[in-house]
Structures are given as structure tokens and as C-alpha cells.
Symmetry: C2
Amino acid sequence: MGAASIKPSEAQADVADNLPPNVPEWMKAQGAPVLHPAYGVPSPFEADVVRRARSRARMSTAASSTTPLQDLHGIVTPNGLHFERHHAGVPTIDPEQHRLMVHGMVDRPLIFTMAEIMRFPSQSHLYFLECSGNGSFAGLPSTATAQDTHGLISCCEWTGVPLATVLAEAGVQPHAAWVLAEGADGAGMTRSIPIAKAMDDALLAYAQNGERLRPEQGYPLRLFLPGYEGNMSVKWLRRLKIGDQPFETREETSKYTDLMPDGTARQFTFVMEARSVITHPSGGQTLDGHGFHEIAGLAWSGHGKITRVEVSVDGGAHWRDAKLQTPVLPKCLTRFRAAWTWDGAPARLQSRATDESGYVQPTRDMLVGARGLNSGYHDNAIHTWGVLADGSVINAT
Amino acid sequence: MGAASIKPSEAQADVADNLPPNVPEWMKAQGAPVLHPAYGVPSPFEADVVRRARSRARMSTAASSTTPLQDLHGIVTPNGLHFERHHAGVPTIDPEQHRLMVHGMVDRPLIFTMAEIMRFPSQSHLYFLECSGNGSFAGLPSTATAQDTHGLISCCEWTGVPLATVLAEAGVQPHAAWVLAEGADGAGMTRSIPIAKAMDDALLAYAQNGERLRPEQGYPLRLFLPGYEGNMSVKWLRRLKIGDQPFETREETSKYTDLMPDGTARQFTFVMEARSVITHPSGGQTLDGHGFHEIAGLAWSGHGKITRVEVSVDGGAHWRDAKLQTPVLPKCLTRFRAAWTWDGAPARLQSRATDESGYVQPTRDMLVGARGLNSGYHDNAIHTWGVLADGSVINAT
């Protein structure tokens, strides 16, 4: 970028010439102009900070990609790094031709244009979104990074219209109990939403982190159900049908249920329970010497606010409180941090989240004991990173 | 993107074929795969939502570009749309070769690598950043948008190390009162910072909205001074010199002072005082018919939290309170909203912010009366948008 304006003799300078007390080469020339480009992009030195595919997908349109948690700071996920999970790829939708239908048990069936939806009063909230499959029940290799183990979670400021506002326009009938949400993708993604959630904090979201939704996040319109498993926040939302029973779509019968050890399946396990992960130090990173290191990570709960995060450096034998970055917001990522002086001995790093309902994140043994290993969904167990004597960090779960 | 996978016969379908009750063409095919691309980009239908150059620059490396406030929602500015202001363009800096020197009135002069800086305890905060030249004292045409009138402001979650932490390592001497901050750009941008601010909430920032700083925001390291005029948050930070007097650099003598009516200049006017702007409806937009419209906008203060925003639809004759989106954070943008039923008559829309210090945003007459028209900096006057009978919105300030 700016390098093009550096004279060849300077570009060939020794690295040491750029170190103090010398004036570095990039101070001896004009840099890149403004609007280079008009919509900015990351530094070329950060080219490794990208989403990555999960290995388990059999086709690239029914697949997922993960957020590089190990390289991020704070709680906001840049839109370009928000995880993806699609069932039939990302449709290209002209917003002028997109419509939202509301029908079923309503007094007035309605069809809205995007302009009509955006005319309603709006709200903005920082919320996490997590795929129910964001887990490692199946086990991951010791080389796994935080992106591999926990990368199906992201956090943005979402703006939209309360779903309750639009349902009030249509006039929901007294015995209505469920809402079918349908996406305008090739999968016709459909889920049943309890009417109580629809009337509570559900949003018809059209913006994320200030700008309009990204295509892979449902442009031009998605449902957003704070704290619920991600697939229910139906993208490319085209239809809401009100009923008095769940609609028993394939995504809530053959998929997105939790097969238990006795062969029965838990259905409608909506809320993502309290969970946390240490992002630094984490798998694939290396501690640069003994002494002070900051342990940093993320905690979240679909039930509300995180009230406490504890960390352990000895695999759960001893715990101490981490500091929570304020503001702590409900159904949002919370950044936690704890000071650690590494003495050079091998260590086992863990974090444990508690939410405002009093729920405490379980150990893996507790979770597997209760749930078995038949299901890949709703893994919220305490995770372990191993720190080896040479400072390298490995997945130890 | 996904359009490439649509069969020609479908691609030629009539627009009406995509409207209810029909199933739109983009539901009849697989869409784009995941990681298309690995670092995501906005929808092609949002190609107009970009930064734009301000007209007054004489060269493209000593120039500014503006955030499209009229197209944004909530408070977060996506990194790709953060405003720019450079004095010698954007340098391309290899983070491995970047150093921060701390010297002057300290016990231990120090030179830090980026890895060393990032090892210190960190903090994350949502803060606005506003250029002191974000104003329209000189007058703008009736066609001006919110991007033209107020676009030199953005808001991100910034992560970094408290400057106080690094100064404590160096050991600041008792009579120190000022810190010189120098950028590693071709302009050698330098400003003097009061030691009290350096010890308060100043950050050595290395990340914005989760990811590492963008090149045009100072990659790999910038100073961040919450609530202060933007140019003091020195980008590409390479040097901090501690002294007992301000350093009287060119950017605080010939520039970035406020020339008063009597010919004297105000110097060291650091804090950006309370201000607000209505972003919808705003210049260049058109109201789509009479009836309900949501007035939405942004308010901020370098002194802390916004406590109140009032709106007027009759040019300031009558005011009523807007609703503030929570959480309201200090030195951060606050989104305000107010319901409005437009009766079709011409209207004059204004907003007025109050902050926790009790300061109330002034009218333009009050500001010009106190400050005159010699200076282009620190314009925080109440702004007026005119709504014409045909629904079009014009700049009326």
C-alpha cells in the first residue's frame, strides 16, 4: 500500500536501519492517500486473522466457518470475521425485491417491504450469537486453536425492529403460541419460536456493528433471538407464520435435537447456557518467556449477565476470580482478564463462568455424565489448555 | 456472488416472480459457499456506504475522509468506515520493526517492541473519536449530508494498555508535567499531552472492534485519548518524551489552535464538548410519505456521559426529550431516538445534547457570538435539517 511510495534505496535498507535511534524508512516518504480504499481493509501483516472452515463439512454451501478468537481483543467481532453457518449457501438478495410475510393466526396477514420494516421504531443491542454446534464433544487434536474449539461464536451490535412491534401490526390471535420463521435461502431454513420469546427481546435485525447486515448474516433481514442457539436466528427472513403448536420442521426433529444416552432426544433446547474460554494464552500460541502474562478470555450466557469468571492454572484444583471488563451486558460476550506469573512449569489453564441465574459452567465430566456423547450440540463444558515447559500451548480437552 | 449459480432462465425472470406468493429465484439454487471470502465484505447492494473525501484537501496524503453517518445504525462504526485524517498519508509499518521509545524526564529510558507492549495488562472501552475540524463554520451547501456535516466522528471498541502502566515502568520524575507523543509517519506528527491525562484514561491502543488497528488508524500502535480532539490520539506512535513544559510543536501553534475575534488564539483546547446530530432524517434523504417516522441520531461528550438529548421539529421553538439507547457510556456515542408524526408541512429538525457536567450544546448564534468565524475547529453547535413539503431533507445550517 504505502510501500509503493518508498524509494528503492530505502526499501532495500537493513532492518536495523528502522530501529531506534534511527528514523525508520516509513517516516521518510509520504504514505498511502486517504480512501485507499474507500471501504477499508486490515493491514497486510494481519492476513492470518481470517475465518476458517471447519473440517467436518461435506459440501461448501452446507458448512460453517469460525471466528479467530485467539487473535481478537475486547468483545466486538468485526463483521468480516463473524462466524458463518449456512444450510444451502449465501443467497444474493436484492433488498428492493425482498418481502417479509406475516400470516397464520393473525387478524391481518401482511407483507412488508424492507423500507416498511425500517420505518418502525428501532433498537440496538450488543449480543453474542453462538451456534449450538460450537463444541468439541467429538474431541479435537492437541493442535486445536480457540478458533477450532470455540470459533462458532461472535458478538456484534445488532439493530432492528422488535418483533413484537410487527406482530402487533398483524394482530396476533389469542391462542397463538408459536411462530414459524422461514429463511429465503435454498434450504428454506425453518424453525419454531415460542411466542413468549417473540414478544420479549426478539428483533427483526437489519444492521450489525452500524452497517447493514453482511450477506452471510442474512442480508437484508434476519431474525435475532438473543441468547438462543444461532440457527433459530433465521437469516434472509421472508416469512413468519403464527400457530398454536410447534411446526416440527426438519431442523427441530432430525437436526438440532440432543440425543441422550437412553436413546431419547431433547427437543427445543433453545438457550445457550453459561460458558467461557481463555483466548490468551490458547492453543497454538507460545508464551514468550517466564514472568507476567495476562490471561484473557470470553464468557457469556443466554440467560443474561455473567456475574463471575474464575480461572485456574492447575487444571481446576484451585480457582481465583478474574476481573470482568465493564460494562457487563446481558446475552453479550464479557471479556475477563487475570494476572498470572508463569514460573516455567507445565500448567493447565481453565476458566469457569457463572451467570445471574446462579448457573455455574460444568466440568466436562459433569456434562458428559448428564448428557452422554451422542450429541454434538450444547457443549458448554470447562475447557483446558495445556502450557508446556517450552511455553507452547496445546488443546488439552 | 451467489448469482453465478442461478440458471439463466431463472435469472431472466420478471421481478414480480420474486414477490409473494411466489418463491423467489434465490431460493431455487445453492448460494455462495462459506469463506467467500475468508474476510467478509458488505453486500454489493450497499456499495454507496463508503467513506468520502472532504473537498477542502489540496493533496491526498494530507487529507481526510468521512464516515457515512446517514447510513449507519446503533453506535459502533465498522472499521472499514472509520473516518481518516492524515498529515502525510498512511505509512506501511512492519510490526516486527516497530518500536516505542519512552525517554525524557524518566528514571529508566525504555524501548518497547510490540510484543512487549502487548504483554502488559489491557483494557477495552467503547469510545468515540472526533476530529477537531468536524464542523461547518464555513457553511456547507443545502445538498450536504450528515457525512458532509459531521462525518469526522466514529466510535469503536478500543483495546490497549493504560499509558500510566508503561510510564510507571519508565519511572516518571516528580516535576514531569507534559508528554510529547510522536507518530512514525512522514509528518512526524507530534502533540503535547498533559501528564494528568496520560495518567488518567489514556491508552496505548493496538486493537479496534476486536481486531488489530487498521493501517489508517495507526497500525500497529496509536495513542488514544478518550474525549480529546482526534489529532492528539497520535497514530503510528513511536516516541513518548516526558517534560515539564508543553513542547509547542507546529500542530499546537500554527495548527489546531482556535483564532478568536480579537486576533488572539486559544491554545490547548483538548476536550470535544457535548454535541449531537440527527442522522435520520438527514440531508439527502427523502421521507417516504406522511405519518410516523423515527427521528434517530447520535450524541457525545468528551466530558463523560450524555444525560439528555432533546429534539425539535420547529427549528428550536419547542423541544421534547428523545429516548437514549442503553447502555449510555462515557466518552462514547449515544444513540437517541424520538417518534415523530410528519403532517406534510415543512419542518426544521434539531437536536440538543446535555452531558453529565451539566453543559448544554449551544445554538450556532451562541457559538459564533462567543467564538467568531476565524476558526474551523471545535464546532459543536446545534445543527438544522430542513424537511420540505415533498419530503426531501436539506442542510439548513
